[in-house]
Structure formats: structure tokens, C-alpha cells
């Protein structure tokens, strides 16, 4: 059986159960694997732990899993834009672990690369340091942070071949390539699915070894969180 699945529901079939830990790529609403998140919603699985830089907005991205109360814990760096998140957090329904964004990214990179822990200056002398080993290197203090993995990683890519080689588009790359390396099973939704040979081997961002399942999602809805423009000068 190849890596390509007919639809998002088939692509995550059997992977997501009560208590599963998921990683979901994206920054804000950019590069978010929306079709796969929708398929997670349809499984009805609850008590999920979700590792994602943000938590979507109401009704979009991970916001839809908050609406259905399927998430028990989020590991994120910034959750500002989601009102439902705030309500569930304040009522104690939802557990939240804040990681500095760079620490979160490096924890995922390390997890995917088989590195159990690393040291970083980020967070020294802050609440982030509580309970963590502090060690001095060259007279400076560093915190020990642990590598991070998930049962399943959900990734959005621009182009893929059927082998799972991936290319991301512009700032929609963000957490997607590192999360692809850190999932027990990595599932990718891709805007353009191509035959082997169609991608330049020198331009591949994520080699297919990290990718287990692929679903073609053409014409994916892309959302803009802050539409900022300037006036076009008169021609």
C-alpha cells in the first residue's frame, strides 16, 4: 500500500484515539493542516494533547477542536486570539503549557532528531525555569529542555510527490517540517500532489522518509488573521 490516501478521514483512520498526543503545524492560521484537523474532529476522540504554536481562532484551525471540547491540554507559545480557549482555560477544563516559541521549535527538532534534551539561555531567571535543571557553560546559565515527540503529526505542505517528499510555500513552512520529523505517524495534507520526478531533489524541504500518509487537498481554504494593506499609488 502506498502513502497516498483518498481523503483526510482515511488518512487519519485508526491513528487518533482518546488521549492521543498530536502535533499540528502552522503559525497563526498560516500553514495550518485544516482538513486533517477537521478529520480529527470527526473521530470524536477526546482528551487530546495538542502541540501547536497557537490554538487557532474561534471556528478555524484548532479552534474547531476547542469548540467540541476534544482537547484536554495544549502545548503552545501564544494563544491570544481564541476566546473559547480563554473560557475553557479559566474554567479549568483545559490545561495549558506555555513554551517559549524557540524552545518549542527546538524541542520538536530535538525530538525528531533523537536528541533527548538540550540547554538554552531562553527562560533563565523566569517562571519557565521552575523545576528545570540549570547548568553553567562558559560562565553563563542555561536551562535544560526536553525533546518533544507526538503520537501523530499533522502537517500542511504545498507540494508533495507520492513518495512523501515535501516542499512548503513561503511563511507557511514554520513548524511544519520539524513536526514532520517528530510524529510517530506523520500525516500530510498537500495542495499539489505530484508524481516522483516532478520535484527537484535539490529543492526538497522534507525528505519522504518522515512522511507516512499523504492526502491531496486542492483549493484549501487559506485564512488571513490580520489583513494589512497599503494604498496602490495612482497609475
Amino acid at each position: 500500500m502506498g502513502k497516498v490516501f483518498e481523503n483526510a478521514r482515511d488518512a487519519i483512520d485508526g491513528l487518533v484515539n482518546d488521549g492521543t498526543t498530536l502535533m499540528a503545524g502552522g503559525f497563526g492560521l498560516c500553514g495550518v493542516p485544516g482538513a486533517l484537523i477537521e478529520a480529527v474532529k470527526e473521530t470524536g476522540a477526546r482528551n487530546l494533547t495538542v502541540i501547536s504554536n497557537n490554538a487557532g481562532v474561534d471556528g478555524v484551525g484548532l479552534g474547531i477542536l476547542l469548540e467540541t471540547r476534544q482537547i484536554r491540554k495544549m502545548i503552545s507559545s501564544y494563544v491570544g486570539e481564541n476566546k473559547r480557549f480563554a473560557q475553557q482555560y479559566l474554567s479549568g477544563e483545559l490545561e495549558l503549557e506555555f513554551n517559549p516559541q524557540g524552545t518549542l521549535a527546538e524541542r520538536i527538532r530535538a525530538g525528531g532528531a533523537g536528541v533527548p534534551a538540550f540547554y538554552t539561555r531562553t527562560g533563565v531567571g523566569t517562571v519557565i525555569a521552575e523545576g528545570k535543571e540549570v547548568r553553567e557553560f562558559g560562565g553563563e546559565k542555561y536551562l535544560m529542555e526536553l525533546g518533544l515527540r507526538a503520537d501523530v503529526s499533522l502537517v500542511h505542505a504545498w507540494k508533495a510527490d507520492t513518495e512523501g517528499n515535501l516542499v512548503f510555500r513561503k511563511a507557511a513552512r514554520n513548524f511544519n517540517p520539524i513536526m514532520a520529523t517528530a510524529g510517530g505517524v506523520t500525516v500530510v495534507q498537500v495542495e499539489h500532489l505530484l508524481e516522483p520526478g516532478a520535484l527537484d531533489p535539490d529543492s526538497i524541504h522534507t525528505p519522504g522518509i518522515y512522511v507516512d500518509r499523504i492526502v491531496h487537498v486542492p483549493n484549501v481554504a487559506k485564512h488571513i488573521e490580520q489583513r494589512t494593506v497599503r494604498k496602490r499609488p495612482n497609475a
Partner: protein
């Protein structure tokens, strides 16, 4: 007259140098590019994975895949590169970004910075701020000198810290302070906004500071 937000940003822009790689926070820092001297090349990094940020797009040219760390639509330049979040913070943590300009809730005289959480209010998260202040070579804070709750330049930050001994310079609507965060930990007032008096600054500052204003 105290400086306006634009004047604070213009003063911060005077710290830019040809060829610097700079990360800008949200708020007043986003005004700084308006004051980059003509002909000076400065590369702006956005921690979501973009180096070489251009201006906002023309109406109708927005691309949902081209956003900055404030999730605003922006444009790319001929020099732009994109990379993953891990690569982005390797740049930051590895000391490759020269300058970070960001806002603050509180700054202490030893360079401690608080800008991400207020106990009792909803905490949105620190995003990349803790990584930036720990990793970027020079950190400049731009902010209003006082909040409605009082002074923001303090002996010690009461709010949860973003970083300990991380701030090099503070530019407010009243003046400019330098902090020797590595050596003496002394804060110095080095510039006063036109029409602002030293007495006014003293009355609105809890932190202890030396005065090294040219002409004083």
C-alpha cells in the same frame, strides 16, 4: 513636549546601522522601518520564518502564506528567504540577529524585562519574546515612560520576567536610558526629550539612574 510614538520610533531608528539584521516586536517597534535612513540596508527578520520583510501589500495583493510574526500580511523582497521555526530561532538563539526592538510592561534598572504576563489577567503566552531577549545581541525597549498604574522603569520588575538582565537601552516618550547589563548593572539617562525636564523624569521613574546627558 514628550516624544510621540513616531518620535520614539525615529529615535530607535538612529540605533540602526548598515547591514544589521533586526527583529521588531509589535506596537511602537513596527513604526521603526518608517524611519530607516534612505539608502541604508537593514534586513528585518520575522520569527515565524522569514528574513527580508517588505512593506504591507497593495490592496488585492495579499497572500495568506506571506505573514509576519504579528500575523499581518506583508510582502517579500528580492533578498527574502524563508525557513522553518527551528532555523528561525537558531538564528536568534545563536546570536546571528544583531538587534531586537520590542515593547515592555516593566524594565528594571539591572536590565530585567517584563512584557508577557500580568497575574490575574488572561495570559496569552510569551511567543518568541523570551528567545529574542536571551539570544539577540542588543535589546532595545521602546515604550511609554509610565502606564496608568505608574512608573514602568523600576528597581525590580513586579511582573513575571521575560528575561533577566537582557535590556541594553530603553527609549521612552521622555528620554533615552542605557543599561550596562553585563558589567556594573547601572542605568544611565543619556538623552532627554525636547521640552522635558529632568525633574519630570525623576518624578516618573522609580529606578535609580545616573545622569550622563550631554550638556548636563
Amino acid at each position: 513636549m514628550p516624544w510621540t510614538r513616531d518620535q520614539i520610533a525615529a529615535r530607535a531608528a538612529k540605533e540602526l546601522r548598515e547591514g544589521l539584521y533586526v527583529n521588531l516586536g509589535i506596537g511602537i517597534p513596527t513604526l521603526v522601518p518608517n524611519f530607516i535612513p534612505a539608502g541604508m540596508k537593514v534586513q528585518l527578520q520575522s520569527e515565524n520564518g522569514m528574513l527580508g520583510m517588505g512593506p504591507f501589500p497593495y490592496e488585492g495583493d495579499e497572500d495568506a502564506d506571506v505573514i509576519n510574526a504579528g500575523k499581518q500580511t506583508i510582502t517579500e523582497l528580492p533578498t527574502t528567504s524563508y525557513f522553518s521555526s527551528a532555523e528561525s530561532f537558531a538564528m536568534i538563539r545563536g546570536g546571528h540577529i544583531d538587534l531586537s526592538i520590542l515593547g515592555a510592561l516593566q524594565v528594571a534598572q539591572n536590565g530585567d524585562l517584563a512584557n508577557w504576563a500580568i497575574p490575574g489577567k488572561i495570559v496569552k503566552g510569551m511567543g518568541g519574546a523570551m528567545d529574542l531577549v536571551a539570544g539577540v545581541r542588543k535589546v532595545i525597549v521602546v515604550m511609554e515612560h509610565v502606564s496608568k498604574d505608574g512608573p514602568k522603569l523600576l528597581r525590580d520588575c513586579g511582573l513575571p520576567l521575560t528575561g533577566s538582565r537582557v535590556v541594553d537601552m530603553v527609549i521612552t516618550d521622555l528620554g533615552v536610558f542605557q543599561i550596562d547589563k553585563i558589567g556594573s548593572n547601572v542605568m544611565r539617562l543619556v538623552e532627554i526629550a525636547d521640552g522635558v525636564t529632568l525633574d519630570e523624569i525623576k518624578s516618573k521613574t522609580e529606578a535609580t539612574f545616573d545622569i550622563r546627558v550631554a550638556g548636563n
